[in-house]
Subunit: 352 residues, 2 copies
């Protein structure tokens, strides 16, 4: 009888130890996932929102072609071993220069009929970040954000001060006219008109003349790029013209480190959508913290943010983790987006 | 023999189930801690940094008295059932009006010899937030931040736009002269002088004439208040004059929701210290996320941020959780601070 007891006690111990070991193994898999580690990976976006599927075929094709060009540009650079920060700047410069997107050329109009641009860039491994808000004469805001990150001991410069800094470090300057596009101008005029309506009419108002390229133009519109480069560095960048008809120097989520733009040692994130919603839940850092503290996958963290924290219609998110897993998803109807990695992935999409 | 086996199998199952139940119980305790829930609680700070212990006795007494007045004001209001947002505004107004602290009257000088003020307020339960950066004529920046939170659909206004918003909603305005104090003026003049020195001399330079009330004036100096009110609402607020001799419209951590100021459904946090360090790790949201995702106590989350994430000399943190547990700690030499709760706690301190 004593032997039986001894054997069963040993069995009991073995079962308990095995159980613990299994848990530890599962955790390790989640944490590293090293078996599928990619050499490099990239995800881009050009804004999220209620993008209509009824758009003319040629317009869909044109947007997809623009996304594909940006993605291919980043892909080639990463394949060639270029640094993540160079790749993010290059890809976002392309999207800023393309009038289809609300960033750089093609930025929306403020309430005063001008343009105020925001951008941010962050390198996860070093925690270095640069961000600017409310610049009016900088052709490529992401390039100024990079200068802040690399040449200043500060992280964020605003308004007139950021303009002065642009003068000091030397980035390309333009007149406000440069940012003009007819579609954005019309959208602004309509937004001004809508403001004169009673509140209940405002919310249900759909702009009849709105150029079909511009959707939900008052809330949505941003470009972003996140990469894992061959050195294992994670970089996130975002650039935007902000909200149509914005007032009072409104700052959205894009230049807020931790909200619209964030990179850590585990993940790089860029958000797009309703800025205030993205800010109040500190989206980028929440994703990174969820992965770190819950030892979860990027997929789980992204789903937590978009489905459990934010509400339908709020936002889209792109991200890449330290193993090169890519993520692009939204709780809006659509998001202009694309992803590629060293395993041969190359996807461009607008709707689900 | 069969019976022995059956009994031991049952025992084994019982042990395993008991183990699981114990874990679940521990988790629940961490999560709720309801047994010690306070009716209300408050923590305040007036900046952290390398505060010298060699200060004259009368100065120490004066600072402690100012902190005690602010704390007692908040304590009385909470005891009387006032709303958290009213209490935070009231206490911060008092600290802003007191020239001892770098916020409102007594704000540091910018590189141009002026004053640019930042402030933020957030209500955890509703996620509502208001924040302003770079205002120059608003007597009490925290009151303008509250107006943004309550009267605007946006969260953050910057610079000239924030000034216009101040005009629209009606808060007390002052001339720049109002913010002048002799000590801050001297500190600025010395900072300008220091800038002309070679870099290695700059970092070791200690201002010989610097009024002893002002310490590390280029990096540190903020006021903050966090409360749990009798309705169970968590509120965080922070206000600052920023950095001495700051340039280019530099924005620090204070008006960044998730960094210097943050409130969620589990905790309200206000930070003080080296703004860029506080921002790059998104301090406030990191504390909240740590508590949520690791099911940890405020004490553990605070220690994680100050000891594992930030570096010695970086920052101080005050916080209150949903059960009224208070936290005030720093990895700097000192922090002007105080805490009180409905269980009779009432403490004011400067050094460890």
């Amino acid at each position: 009888m004593k032997y039986v007891q001894a054997i069963l006690t040993m069995l009991l111990s073995a079962v308990l130890v095995a159980g613990c070991a299994q848990n530890a193994d599962q955790q390790k898999d989640n944490e590293n996932g090293d078996m599928n580690k990619k050499e490099w990976a990239i995800v881009i976006h050009g804004g999220a929102g209620a993008i209509s599927k009824d758009k003319p075929e040629e317009m869909k094709t044109a947007y997809k072609a623009a996304l594909d060009s940006a993605l291919t540009m980043g892909e080639t650079a990463l394949k060639n071993g270029e640094k993540g920060v160079d790749v993010v700047e290059k890809v976002i410069n392309y999207l800023e220069d393309n009038p289809k997107f609300n960033a750089g050329k093609g930025a929306v109009f403020t309430s005063e009929g001008g343009h105020e641009l925001d951008a941010a860039i962050m390198v996860g491994n070093s925690r270095k970040a640069g961000t600017i808000t409310g610049v009016t004469t900088v052709k490529n805001p992401i390039s100024l954000a990079r200068k802040v990150m690399e040449n200043s001991k500060h992280i964020m410069f605003a308004g007139q001060g950021a303009e002065e800094y642009a003068g000091k470090v030397g980035v390309e300057r333009v007149n406000q006219d440069y940012f003009y596009t007819e579609g954005r101008y019309k959208a602004w005029k309509r937004a001004v008109e809508r403001e004169t309506m009673p509140e209940e009419q405002q919310s249900s108002y759909i702009d009849p003349d709105l150029d079909a390229t511009f959707w939900d133009a008052d809330k949505y519109g941003t470009v972003g790029c996140v990469v894992l480069d061959q050195e294992g560095t994670l970089v996130a960048g975002t650039s935007t013209g902000g909200m149509t008809n914005k007032k009072f120097g409104r700052v959205g989520d894009v230049p807020i480190i931790g909200s619209g733009t964030y990179a850590s040692d585990v993940v790089a994130v860029s958000m797009t959508g309703w800025g205030e919603r993205i800010m109040e839940v500190v989206s980028g850092n929440t994703v990174s913290s969820y992965m770190k503290f819950k030892d979860s996958s990027l997929e789980e963290a992204g789903s937590y943010l978009l489905n459990d924290v934010l509400e339908p219609g709020d936002a889209g998110m792109i991200a890449v983790d330290k193993n090169g897993n890519t993520y692009m998803n939204m709780n809006t109807k659509g998001m202009y987006r694309g992803a590629a990695d060293s395993d041969g992935k190359h996807e461009v999409a607008i709707w689900e």
